[in-house]
Amino acid sequence: MSLIEALSSSGADILEIGLPFSDPIADGPVIQNAMMRSLKGGFKVNDIFNLIKKTRASGIDIPIIVMSYLNPIIRIGGNEFCKKSAESGADGILLVDMPIEESEELDEIVKKHGMDVIRLIAPNTCEARMMEIFSKSTGFVYAVSVSGTTGARDNLSKQSIDFLRRVASIRTCPLAVGFGISSPDHVRQIRAIGVDAVIEGSKLISIYSDYTLSNEERLSRIEEHATEMKRATVD
């Protein structure tokens, strides 16, 4: 909760809360380890609903997206999961391992509960498929800047920039970019292409999980980094 407050007060426009899963195949080591720590610490799916409720009760009203792998949702039941998410105050659902081929039924459920269906586009997604993904998404579309898994990278390759240009040129709803984003320079580069938002996960988690520092220090580093990133979106 203190992390959410820190991000919100530093200017985050949207919060993406990941549901820890034992087998996160699209995530790199930083997020994998965070998920393992959370599960070892006794995380239960219901905790995410309580966290969102608390966030809303504290007056934070920026959109909240729940990001998850499919299995915990199947286990609880798609309808039950979406109902609880919406009631807690979530605005959208992003299912990592749910491609458009399989998602029709669950999309309807998400929409029925008044939430957005957020989808990913990858560097090797062909153009016709991109159009289909845009047409089946609401809220925003999440472009994955690099092939592979989540995790901070030093540089954005020319390939990534070219890919993001292509997606930006055909987008029919807001476009956010994630995977590998970790510095204000990345943000400025991406802004220049005309992308609407950047998504940062692994870098924030690495800052926050430096347990050699005190809790206050970790939070203040998060605030510092998030403020810098936010500044890069508008300067």
């Binding site: 087998d23 195949i25 699209a26 393992m36 792998y69 499919l70 286990r75 092939s147 592979g148």
Partner: protein, 390 residues
């Protein structure tokens, strides 16, 4: 299969967008090549001249006399590299080569698939890297050396439960970043479409040979087929060509570990719940929150919390029956087959042997075929240690 990649309600294509392109490319390449004469002739030449097929169907006379029935063993343990895994490894490695891929990655539990993949890649001149959980590396050291010997790099996976499922996670992550030049050679009938159907097709050579051999030998079809099931590739390979022969019963033997009620086992069909793991909707050992459970079996190759989607389908249809055999019975069968027939079975296959002798006791007039999916050389050191021999 009704919808693409589905076996009834199981199977499908539940993968992150970053994997979609690679899997669609694989799917269309396989659809094209599976009916290609040249490809099939090349593969069948490799299977016969290189891998030693057809493997014998052997009548286990002494075992039958001891327990009843007429028990036959399909001797996949005699295939090159010591298990059925070579059938699929050669098929997919050849496919990878035709697709223009230069690098192959694979996951392995017991190490049998890793060795088979390393072998196929050495033969076809492909670079090969194999992901293996740290726990499995420890208990199957010799297979790691074998892979090294064959020119393959073994990558130890230290995430999660450090076993087969984590090796698959890591291989999928690699594939997401490398699929332009890399083929992911999955070793069982698990994973997203097209893997369950493709691996089944490559393994069905087991059942096709068995059918011809038993007809030649006895002039009739068998009463029962018995095979062990981890991911389920040797079982589906034996079962599939017999699916239309309604009088042939089929038994899939899962790993009961310390007993299904102990919670320490790998019996996904017997005790799992529906969910999605590694790209397929199937039966999975999981907790109430949908987190995947850590599994246990004395046989590393059965130590997997899910199962190929065609097995729950056959189970729901009532076409095949799934049972669990625990560690102690498998170890008993490991000794039994060694002493009675002079064949040391892999611990995985020993599960099938254990169920077969129980089945034979109760069905004295049956012709029973057991898929002896692998040989036990890889397990000898571990069992000797377990029994305090050294």
């Amino acid at each position: 299969m009704n919808r693409k990649g589905y076996f009834g309600e199981f199977g499908g294509f539940f993968v992150p967008e970053i994997l979609v392109h690679a899997l669609k490319e694989l799917s269309s390449s396989y659809d094209r090549l599976k009916n290609d004469n040249e490809f099939n002739m090349e593969l069948s030449a490799l299977l016969s001249r290189y891998a030693g097929r057809p493997t014998p169907l052997y009548f286990a006379k002494r075992l039958s006399e001891k327990f009843g029935g007429r028990i036959y063993l399909k001797r996949e343990d005699l295939a090159h590299t010591g298990s059925h895994k070579i059938n699929n490894a050669l098929g997919q490695a050849l496919l990878a080569k035709k697709m223009g891929k230069t690098r192959v990655i694979a996951e392995t539990g017991a190490g049998q698939h890793g060795v088979a993949a390393a072998t196929a890649c050495a033969l076809l001149g492909l670079e090969c890297e194999v992901y293996m959980g740290e726990v499995d590396v420890e208990r199957q050291k010799l297979n790691c050396y074998r892979m090294n010997l064959l020119g393959t790099k073994v990558i130890t996976v230290k995430n999660g439960s450090k076993t087969l499922k984590d090796a698959i996670n890591e291989a999928l992550r690699d594939y997401a970043a490398s699929s332009d030049h890399t083929h992911y050679l999955i070793g069982s009938v698990v994973g997203p479409h097209p893997y369950p159907a493709m691996v089944r097709d490559f393994q069905s050579v087991i059942g096709r040979e068995t059918k011809a051999q038993i007809l030649a030998d006895t002039g009739r079809l068998p009463d029962s087929l018995i095979a062990c099931v981890g991911g389920g590739s040797n079982a589906i390979g034996l079962f599939h060509p017999f699916l239309e022969d309604k009088d042939v019963k089929m038994f899939g033997v899962e790993a009961g570990g310390n007993g299904v009620h102990s919670g320490k086992h790998s019996a996904s069909v017997v005790a799992g719940a529906e969910g999605v793991l590694h790209g397929a909707r199937t039966l999975i050992l999981q907790d109430d929150d949908g987190q995947i459970l850590e599994t246990h079996s004395v046989a590393a190759g059965l130590d997997y919390p899910a199962v190929g989607p065609e097995h729950p389908y056959l189970s729901r249809l009532g076409r095949a029956t799934y049972v669990a055999v625990d560690d102690s019975k498998a170890l008993f069968a490991f000794h039994l087959l060694s002493e009675t027939e002079g064949i040391i079975p892999a611990l995985e296959s020993a599960h099938a042997v254990a169920y077969a002798v129980e089945h034979a006791r109760q069905n004295q007039n049956e012709v029973i075929i057991v898929n002896l999916s692998g040989r036990g050389d890889k397990d000898v050191a571990e069992v000797a240690q377990m029994e305090g021999y050294f």
